[in-house]
Amino acid sequence: MSGRTIKLAAIGALMAGTLVAQTHKELHFNVGARAVVSVNNPYGSISVKPSAGNTVSVSAVLSSDKVEIDSNQTGNRVDIQSHLLPGANEQSGHVDYEILVPADASVSLHSTTGPLRAERLHGDMTLEGSAAIVDVRDITDAHVHVKTLNGPVTLTNVIEGHVEVDSLSGAITLNRVTGPLVQVISTSGGINYTGDFGDGGEYRLTSHSGDIEATVPEYTSADVSARSVKGEVHDDIPLQPKQHTSFIVKEGSAFVGTMGRAAVSSTVVLRSFSGKIHLRKRTAK
């Protein structure tokens, strides 16, 4: 038998082994309005989308028999847990979930590796994962809480949200995220906001050493305060200066002022210690 044949046979055996070991599991739960769905999956992805009716449908692909799915329904609450059996590791304990929930359900997703994804929902949501990539989009009227260690976080089209994102070192990107409260805290990750800061909301973007960049359209109305203790601060947009500030406004390291119509403006606070802060005007395409 030639070396090439042996190699092909080995690859075939490996693939067959993988195919045999992988299993698919479907679960369905009937729930009422405002159900609560919690998923804890140490290794693997969780994707949540809206279902047509009052059902929670779980489709899971398990990578091996070293992991099981435990599920429990108590009234309107559904708990899903990937249960690692002895000897399981990141590969053999891997499970990928595709979950459909009623659009008004509250969801809590947890995975160390991720990725975590939620879209087109309007129930409150919590997404947590150390290294998980987090992607949240098309969410309305909901609390969105995200925590990661170094996983990057992207929020897109989150309208009227109560948004809190905390990441130690993951990059955080917010595209068209508005609401009464948008708070982002990072230790070393960069924060990038693109949008108009809504009407009358409170926006706090804070990073210790990460850069903060906010790109806003010309019509934006906001009271803006930006300060970097050791980094540079740049402002491409003319602001009406404020008379009173709680800190000394030093050229190049801080600016405070109002853009647009103050009557409907949001409060925007950009704060860093050693990162750069840049408030940019979005250029028309």
């Binding site: 609560v36 609450r77 304990g93 409150d124 300060r227 210690f273």
Partner: protein
């Protein structure tokens, strides 16, 4: 009044006693549970400040709140998700989330109140003190945490060590900034944020899904 409006209104009337709040709470079990939980946490926080050693009732309240939130579950037989801490670490399972809950609670309170600078500063100072106290009373020790991670998941040690170093630097810089700008409300908020970041690091490290 819907859920979002109710939760916003809690910044003004925290115990949910206003008539509009009551009307919504009667029809919404989630918000009702939230208000009850906030009241419990507030009570627990007061007791934490008052005593050197929190009573078991405080930990029980926090445990119940965390269970209701789905943040913790009863241990499963044969489950290997939680690191097998010895007795030295057993208490931190509650102490760390407790610190995190305390930090989040004071953070929410400080955050939601739009107060003049002096009042905010007065509010933020005890909040930060409480946060510091929360971390100190739990006896959280960076070396212990790293040692535990080394034993359980050596591959993650470098990652946690790096983030821990950055979080500590954040706290140090935030403290310096508060000292230099004692009237800056945002400096106080940043210090609180720095402590929150470190609390989150511990929370994630000791989380139930840490392999």
């Amino acid at each position: 009044m819907n859920c979002v409006e109710l939760q916003k209104s809690l910044a003004e009337i925290e115990d949910g006693s206003a008539s509009e709040q009551q009307a919504h709470l009667k029809s919404c079990p989630e918000c009702s549970a939230l208000v009850a939980e906030l009241n419990r946490i507030t009570s627990a926080a007061i007791e934490l400040r008052a005593a050197d050693e929190p009573s078991p009732r405080v930990w029980n309240s926090i445990e119940i709140a965390l269970r209701q939130e789905g943040l913790i579950h009863a241990p499963l037989v044969g489950r290997s998700l939680i690191p097998s801490f010895g007795s030295r670490w057993a208490w931190t399972r509650w102490a760390v989330p407790a610190a995190a809950v305390l930090l989040i609670t004071v953070g929410v309170y400080v955050h939601q109140r739009s107060l003049p600078v002096q009042v905010a500063r007065n509010a933020a100072q005890p909040a930060v003190s409480a946060a510091v106290s929360g971390l100190e009373t739990t006896g959280l020790n960076d070396d212990d945490l790293l040692q535990e991670i080394s034993q359980q998941t050596p591959a993650l040690r470098a990652q946690y060590e790096d983030n821990l170093r950055r979080a500590n630097q954040y706290i140090e810089d935030a403290q310096s900034d508060v000292a230099a700008n004692p009237n800056d409300e945002e400096a106080h908020r940043s210090l609180l944020a720095a402590y929150q970041q470190k609390a989150m690091l511990f929370e994630l490290a000791l989380d139930r899904s840490l392999p």
